[in-house]
C-alpha cells in the first residue's frame, strides 16, 4: 500500500520542453500564421486585400458559431451531430419569417435551434442516452422538419424586409456577421472562464463522478450545453439564409463534422475536460484559410482541381494536424508522469 517513488525519467532540456509546450498549446495558431504567411508570399496583394480578408472572415461566421457551441459540448465529453441539420431547419424558418422583419426572423431561428438543443440535452441528461445517438436522431428529425417546412424547395426571403441587412450591414469597416461572431466568442470565453457554468462544464468533462460527488448539477449543466449549441446553430442558420437570400432544406450537410474538426484541430480534447474557446476560433480560421488559398491556387491555374479534390485535400490536412497534435500530446504526457 505504500507507494515507493521510482526514479524520475531523464528530463529533456528546458529549451526542448519550452518548444514542445508552445507547439502543443499553440500548434494550431502557429500553423495558422504559417499558412497565412504562405498566402501572403504566394498570392500577394490579391490575398491581403481588405476585400478578401473580410470576405474570408464573414464566410466563416456560420461555421464559427456552431463550432463555438460544439466546443462546450465536446468539453463535457459529448458530441452534437444535429447542428448541421438545425442550420438548415432554422435557415428555412428564418426565410419564412423574414417578412416579419429582421428581429422576428432571427429570434425565431434562435428559438427553434434552442428548442432542438433542449430536447437533445433533456434526453441525454435525464435518460442517460449516448449523445451520439440522441443527436443523430435529432439530426434526422431536424432535416425532415426542414424539408417539411420548405415543401422540399428553397424558400426565398422577403426582399422587402430588412432581413437581408443581417448579412450586408457593416459596422464601420467590419461586416455585421463578423461582429456578431466575435461577440459570441467573447461571451463564450467569459462563460467558460469566469462563470460557474463554464467551470461545471470542464469539471464534468474532466471527471463526471468526481463532479457528481462534489454536488455539481450535472443534468442542468448538460441541458444548458446542448441548448447553447442548438441556439448558436439557429443563429448560424439565420446568417446563412441572409447570405444566400434563401432558406435551403439541404444546406448545412456535414457541417457538424466541419465544426468538430475545427474544435479538435484547435486542441480541445474529444474526451472532454480540457479546451478553450479561442483555439476553436483558430481552428475555424485555419480550415477557412486553407479553403481560401486553394481557391487562389485554382485561380492561378497551377493545377486543375475540382471542388471534390479540395475536399480530399482538406481531409488530408485535417488528419495531418490531428496526428501531429496527438504525437505532441503523448510525448508531453510521457514526460510529466
Amino acid at each position: 500500500m505504500t507507494a515507493r517513488t521510482a526514479s524520475q525519467e531523464p528530463t529533456t532540456s528546458g529549451w526542448q520542453q519550452w518548444a514542445a509546450g508552445l507547439l502543443r498549446q499553440q500548434g494550431a495558431l502557429i500553423a495558422l500564421i504559417a499558412i497565412f504567411l504562405f498566402g501572403v508570399w504566394r498570392y500577394g496583394e490579391n490575398f491581403t486585400s481588405e476585400f478578401n480578408l473580410w470576405t474570408l472572415l464573414r464566410n466563416n461566421t456560420y461555421f464559427g458559431l456552431i463550432a463555438l457551441g460544439m466546443t462546450f459540448v465536446i468539453m463535457t465529453g459529448g458530441i452534437d451531430l444535429s447542428v448541421g441539420a438545425v442550420v438548415a431547419l432554422t435557415a428555412v424558418a428564418a426565410a419564412r419569417l423574414s417578412g416579419e422583419g429582421l428581429w422576428v426572423a432571427v429570434a425565431g431561428a434562435i428559438g427553434l435551434g434552442l428548442g432542438v438543443g433542449l430536447i437533445n440535452g433533456a434526453l441525454i441528461a435525464r435518460f442517460r442516452i449516448q449523445p451520439f445517438i440522441v443527436t443523430l436522431a435529432t439530426l434526422l428529425a431536424a432535416r425532415g422538419g426542414a424539408l417539411n417546412l420548405s415543401n422540399n424547395a428553397s424558400v426565398s426571403i422577403d426582399f422587402n424586409s430588412n432581413f437581408k441587412d443581417l448579412w450586408r450591414t457593416n459596422v464601420g469597416e467590419v461586416p455585421l456577421p463578423v461582429v456578431i461572431t466575435a461577440f459570441a466568442f467573447l461571451l463564450g470565453s467569459i462563460a467558460l472562464n469566469l462563470t460557474r457554468f463554464g467551470r461545471h462544464v470542464l469539471a464534468i468533462g474532466g471527471n463526471e463522478e468526481a463532479a457528481r460527488l462534489a454536488g455539481l448539477p450535472i443534468a442542468r449543466t448538460l441541458v444548458a450545453v446542448y441548448a447553447l449549441s442548438g441556439a448558436l446553430a439557429g443563429l448560424s442558420g439565420a446568417l446563412l439564409a441572409a447570405q444566400g437570400n434563401t432558406g435551403s432544406p439541404i444546406a448545412g450537410i456535414g457541417w457538424e463534422l466541419t465544426a468538430i474538426a475545427a474544435v479538435v484541430v484547435g486542441g480541445t480534447l474529444l474526451t472532454g475536460g480540457r479546451g478553450s474557446v479561442w483555439t476553436t476560433l483558430v481552428g475555424v480560421l485555419l480550415l477557412g484559410l486553407i479553403f481560401n488559398e486553394l481557391n487562389f491556387e485554382r485561380g492561378k491555374g497551377t493545377f486543375e482541381l475540382t471542388q471534390y479534390w479540395e475536399e480530399v485535400i482538406r481531409g488530408a490536412f485535417l488528419l495531418l494536424v490531428v496526428i501531429l497534435q496527438s504525437r505532441l500530446t503523448r510525448r508531453a504526457s510521457a514526460s510529466t508522469t
Partner: protein, 514 residues
C-alpha cells in the same frame, strides 16, 4: 514444506515490476502445484493483480523468472499464455452478451467447413465442454439470457476448452449468490479432479478453507507467506494481510494522532440504522457524535465504503434509516448531503476525487462553486482568498494555486480534497482511506489535521485498512463484515486481537476461535 514433495506446475521467482512512480512488485514469488487450488490473498494494492497480469502476459515483468509446466516462459501477449495453457477469468465477465453460448466458448477458433462456420459441430462441442463441468444448458441461446453464475461457467468452459492447465479466477464469487457459489465450487473441484490447477483470488475469507489447498499471502508487492490452508487460521490470514504480529504489544505513537479526550457524551450527529442495499449492505449501523472520530473497520468487500456512499446520497438504499442531528434524512443526491453539512473524501482520489486538468484553485473550490458565484459569475477574489487560506492552513505544497492538480503528490492532492470540504464548514466528514498511498510525513500531518477537526467539533467517520490508524485515531470503532455491522468497540476496550478477530470472523464467532 519443500518443493520436492510437490509436483509444481508453476513457479514464479523474484518478480519485480515498477510503474512510473510506484513499485508494484518487489521480489514476489508464487508456487502452484498440479491439480491444486491455490488461494491468493492480499489487501488492495498488495500486488496480486499485477502478479497475475505478468503471469498471463498482460504486463511485462522487470525482473524475475517464471517456470510453467517444466520450461521457462515469458509471455508477451495474453494469447501466448492462453496457448501455453493459462486461462484467466476476470471479475467482470469478458464475453459478448449478444452472441450465443457456443459462439462465446469458441470465439476466435470457430470450427469451420469449406471456410464457413460449422454450426452443428460448434454447438455439439460446446455442449460437451459444458457437460463435463456438470452444466446442461441450450448453447444456442444468447449469453445475456443466463444469470451471472452461469455466464461465469461459460467463461470457465471457454478456459477449459483451451486445454487450460492453469485457470486464474479473479474474485469469481464477488457477484454470485450463495447457492451459485456452491455450483462454482463443484466446477472447481471438477477441474481439480481433471488435474487442472486453479489460482483463486478472493477477499471472502470464509471461502478459502472450503475450496483451497494452499494459500499465498501478499502485502506491499511482496510475498509474505505460503502455507497449506489446513495449517493457518482465518485470524492469522487477516493479521498477515494487514502486516500485524498477533501477540506483539502495539507501540503507541506510530501515527500522527494524539490521545484526545474521548467524546462519549452529547447527542449523536449521525445515526445510521439497519441500512440495506442489494447484497453489499445487509444490515449496517453506525453513529457519530460531534467531536468524535469513529473508525469504520472491515476487509475489502465488507461494505464499509458502501455505507459512506449511502449516507452521502451517492447510491440509493433499499431500506434502513439515516438521521442527521436526530432528523431523518434521505439524500437523493450528493448535492443534498452537502447542503446538509456533510463532506465525503473518497477512497479513489484519481477516479472519484480530482479533476485532473483543473488547477488546485478550481479543485479546492469545486464543491463551493454554488455558493461562490454572484449572478453566475465566479467571485474570483473570494475564491482566491479561500484557496490561500487553506493552502496555508493545511500546508499544501504546490508551485502556485494555478498548478494542475495532477502534478501534485498524493499527499498534497489529498489535502486539496480535504480542503474542498473544509471550506464549506461541514458538520460531518466521511473519510474513506484518508491516508492511502501517501508518504509517511504527509500521512502524519493529515492524521493530526483529522484530530484538530474533531477537536473543533466535527464528527468524523474514518474508514481505514490500517490497524494503527484505527486504533490510535478512533474514539470508537465499528467493524463491518459481509455488509453487516458485526462489532463495536469503545476506545478503552479496543485491542488489536479483538479487532482483527471481529474483522475475520464477526464478533459472535470470537468464542469459536478460543
Amino acid at each position: 514444506m519443500t518443493d520436492g514433495e510437490r509436483d509444481l506446475l508453476l513457479r514464479m521467482d523474484g518478480i519485480c515490476k515498477s510503474f512510473p512512480g510506484v513499485v508494484a512488485l518487489d521480489n514476489a514469488w508464487l508456487r502452484v502445484g498440479r491439480g491444486e487450488v491455490h488461494c491468493l490473498v492480499g489487501q488492495n494494492g498488495a500486488g496480486k493483480s499485477t502478479l497475475m497480469k505478468i503471469l498471463n502476459g498482460a504486463y511485462r515483468k522487470d525482473r524475475g523468472t517464471i517456470t510453467f509446466d517444466g520450461r521457462e516462459v515469458d509471455f508477451h501477449k495474453p494469447h501466448e499464455a492462453q496457448e501455453a495453457g493459462i486461462s484467466t477469468i476476470y471479475q467482470e465477465i469478458n464475453l459478448v452478451p449478444y452472441r450465443s453460448v457456443a459462439e462465446n466458448i469458441f470465439m476466435g477458433r470457430e470450427p469451420r467447413r469449406f471456410g464457413l462456420i460449422n454450426w452443428p459441430r460448434m454447438n455439439r462441442e460446446a455442449s460437451q465442454v459444458l457437460s463435463r463441468l456438470g452444466i446442461q444448458i441450450d448453447v444456442r441461446q444468447p449469453l445475456m439470457k443466463l444469470n451471472v453464475a452461469l455466464q461465469q461457467m461459460v467463461a470457465i468452459a471457454r478456459a477449459v476448452s483451451f486445454q487450460a492447465k492453469l485457470v486464474i479466477m479473479d474474485e469469481p464469487t464477488s457477484s454470485l449468490a450463495e447457492h451459485e457459489v456452491a455450483t462454482l465450487f463443484e466446477v472447481i473441484r471438477g477441474l481439480k479432479a481433471q488435474g487442472v490447477s486453479v489460482i483463486y483470488i478472493s477477499h471472502r475469507l470464509d471461502e478459502l478453507h472450503q475450496i483451497g489447498d494452499r494459500i499465498t499471502i501478499m502485502r506491499d508487492g511482496q510475498t509474505i507467506e505460503e502455507r497449506p490452508l489446513s495449517e493457518i487460521s482465518k485470524l492469522e490470514i487477516v493479521a498477515k494481510m494487514l502486516g500485524r504480529e498477533l501477540d506483539v504489544v502495539q507501540q503507541a505513537g506510530a501515527t500522527g494522532f494524539r490521545k484526545r479526550a474521548a467524546h462519549t457524551d452529547g447527542e449523536p450527529l449521525l445515526e445510521v440504522k439497519h441500512l440495506r442495499r442489494g447484497r453489499v449492505l445487509q444490515d449496517a449501523s453506525v453513529s457519530a457524535r460531534p467531536g468524535e472520530i469513529v473508525g469504520l473497520a472491515g476487509l475489502l468487500g465488507s461494505g464499509r465504503t458502501e455505507v459512506a456512499r449511502a449516507i452521502f446520497g451517492a447510491d440509493p438504499v433499499d431500506d434502513g434509516e439515516i438521521r442527521i442531528n436526530g432528523q431523518r434524512a434521505r439524500f437523493r443526491s450528493p448535492a443534498d448531503a452537502i447542503r446538509a453539512g456533510i463532506g465525503f473524501c473518497t477512497e479513489d482520489r484519481k477516479s472519484e476525487g480530482i479533476i485532473p486538468y483543473l488547477s488546485v484553485r478550481e479543485n479546492l473550490t469545486l464543491a463551493a462553486l454554488p455558493t461562490l458565484a454572484r449572478n453566475g459569475i465566479v467571485d474570483r477574489a473570494r475564491q482566491r482568498e479561500i484557496v490561500d487560506r487553506y493552502v496555508r492552513l493545511l500546508g499544501i505544497k504546490a508551485a502556485s494555486a494555478e498548478q494542475k492538480i495532477r502534478e501534485l503528490s498524493g499527499g498534497n492532492q489529498q489535502k486539496v480534497l480535504l480542503a474542498r470540504w473544509l471550506c464549506l464548514n461541514p458538520k460531518l466528514l466521511l473519510l474513506d482511506e484518508p491516508t492511502r498511498g501517501i508518504d509517511v510525513g504527509a500521512k502524519a500531518e493529515i492524521q493530526k489535521l483529522i484530530d484538530d477537526l474533531a477537536d473543533a467539533g466535527l464528527g468524523v467517520l474514518m474508514i481505514s485498512s490500517e490497524i494503527e490508524e484505527l486504533l490510535e485515531g478512533s474514539d470508537r470503532i465499528t467493524v463491518m463484515r459481509d455488509g453487516k455491522t458485526v462489532a463495536e468497540f469503545e476506545r478503552d476496550e479496543i485491542d488489536q486481537r479483538a479487532l482483527l478477530t471481529a474483522m475475520a470472523h464477526g464478533a459472535s464467532a470470537e468464542q469459536a476461535e478460543a
